[in-house]
Amino acid sequence: MSPILNVKNLETRFQTLDGEVSAVNGIDFHLHKGESLGVVGESGSGKTQIFLSIMGLLAKNGRSTGSVKFKGQELIGMKTGELNKIRGVTMSMIFQDPMTSLNPYLKISKQMNEVLIEHQGRTEEEALKESIQMLDLVGIPEARKRVHMYPHEFSGGMRQRVMIAMALLCKPDLLIADEPTTALDVTVQAQILDLMRNLKKELDTAIVMITHDLGVVAGLCDRVMVMYGGRIVEKGDVRNIFYDAQHPYTQGLLESMPRLDEAKASKLHAIPGQPPNLQNLPVGCAFQDRCEYRKDQCLSSIPNLIEFAEGRAKACFREAS
């Protein structure tokens, strides 16, 4: 089975007044139908920009090179008109703030119907029926009535569901979720994650979950990609990442998390220092300043992402631990 998304050597640079920002560097990964991929890493590590590059939604000062094949079609360099036939149709993205994808001045029914009429050729009546079904599916109570409400009339958790319903209208093959539950309370987050798990099972949607919360990844994702300094530093199955992490950053990240399910040592393991500035990445490994295993080689050359076992890869010069 060939992957539905295949990314090769994706690079994204931003031109700014004080120099070039290397936000996304040499990214390779793929995703199969029905699979879920967790993307984790510190703030500014490039998680969001990878997927904005893939969707062709970069800010004006940004440019991507490399290859992104979605269902066999190359997206890098594709014309906006062509991209619009894919975005929101077979590939959708949702964000932390639902209002980035909802129009505050239009009733939900209007916004949802438009998508179905334009992309699926539905009649007004068919579209309304499908919109209500979709709201129902994402757990909006009284969908028949609420479909006629405006976005601000929904609570935060409900608005998040409406955005997910919008993104799913055309039954996309790929749903990219960028911190969709970060602004929500944990009890509401649990409802949304439950919803996403069901979508994956029932619609076979491939899901990318971008998050800083390793707990969310543990519950939802099949595979995980760990980002640092705009690069993938480790990739593997969810159990490998959590139980047998190989990159010093992944290890440090897991150890620095306080745990609800067990009492940890009185002191947390903290990774010293700070993440690097993408405008001024060090020569060599981006993690060098914070790494306890650093050796000379780490200062002079960038470690490649190397597959060291079936489906597992890391970018680090340290011998296996």
């Binding site: 009890t187 519950g219 159990r239 620095s256 399910d261 002191k267 700070q274």
Partner: protein
């Protein structure tokens, strides 16, 4: 760790908010509604609950930064409720606060030396500029900031460093208690651990007490000695930290804990989640009786009539639920 420094009794903060709708007028929003607890010297009390449950308002009301509508706050035995700014002043030295958004809480036009030294200037104007700067340098060193950065401005620092600046400013008067309002929520996990460790080190060195407000139950479990669970301005449960996780008694506490994602795939996928129905009710029109009853899987007619009072489960562990004994642990 035995003497009580802070005793809060039946504290209430009711805001008057526009009713909205056709008739206008104002209605009370009961942000904090009858909260009682005590804080011992050297202790950390964690305060958890979902957005809008009154955590931050409670923290500010305890420090008299918001005037309580009712109830008492006693500091080392003396009542400080509703004192005017001048009478409150000597107490302020002992009580400080740090905030969630590290950069936004720092004045962008002041150097970090001025920011950290400001409370000293206010409370001890007799200290010379030179001595003040020396004290600021010492404090910077304590919180892990390089003292030679004393003349830099806040925007030159990262989020974690800005939080260290906020902590240094709060610590410079060597207070007895610090209210920490979501102090690590805006920070990356790896930086969060640095700041949590710093707070714990300072606590040990200075015998500080902390009121640690956070929506992140994992962090709260790590840093607190006891934990208080709030819902719609009311205390649902207070317990020693291990008991609240190992032996929660309130249905809300149980739901809250079960909803926290555990960074362990096997455990996370096999755990049982108590999924709560619906959303938080509006704090302007809280449910009658038990405020949690509209989302509680065990609510019955009685819960709509009677507001539960805190009952003792065991020493140091109280729960406010009419049916806790029936529900078991």
């Amino acid at each position: 760790m035995s003497d009580t420094i802070l005793n809060v009794e039946d504290l209430k903060v009711h805001f008057q908010v526009p009713r909205g709708g056709f008739f206008g007028g104002r209605v009370p929003l009961k942000a904090v509604d009858g909260v009682s607890f005590e804080l011992k010297s050297g202790e950390t009390l964690g305060i958890v609950g979902e957005s809008g449950c009154g955590k931050s308002t409670l923290g500010r009301a305890v420090l008299q930064l918001i005037e309580p509508t009712g109830g008492n706050v006693a500091w080392l035995g003396s009542n400080i409720t509703g004192l005017d700014a001048k009478t409150m002043r000597p107490y302020r030295k002992d009580m400080q606060i740090i905030f969630q958004d590290p950069l936004a809480s720092l004045n962008p036009r002041m150097t970090i030396g001025e920011i950290i030294g400001e409370p000293l200037k206010t409370h001890y104007p007799e200290i010379s500029r030179k001595d003040r700067r020396e004290k600021v340098r010492q404090m910077m060193d304590k919180v892990g900031l390089l003292p030679q950065m004393i003349n830099r401005y806040p925007h030159e620092f990262s989020g974690g460093q800005c939080q260290r600046i906020g902590i240094a400013r709060a610590m410079i008067l060597e207070p007895k208690v610090i209210v920490c309002d979501e102090p690590v929520s805006a920070l990356d996990v790896s930086i969060q651990a640095q700041v949590v460790n710093l707070l714990q080190d300072l606590q040990k060195e200075f015998g500080l007490s902390l009121l640690f407000i956070s929506h992140d139950l994992s962090v709260v479990r790590h840093i607190s000695h006891r934990i208080m669970v709030l819902y719609l301005g009311k205390v649902m449960e207070i317990a020693p930290k291990d008991a609240i996780y190992a032996d929660p008694r309130h249905p809300y506490t149980k739901a809250l804990i079960s909803a926290v994602p555990i960074p362990d795939p096997d455990r996370e996928r096999n755990k049982e989640i108590v999924v709560l129905q619906g959303d938080l009710p509006s704090p302007i029109a809280p449910p009658s009786g038990c405020v949690f009853r509209t989302r509680c899987p065990f609510a019955d007619d009685e819960c709509a009539k009677t507001a539960p009072q805190p009952e003792s489960v065991e020493a140091g562990h109280t729960v406010s639920c009419l049916h806790w004994q029936k529900l078991g642990g």
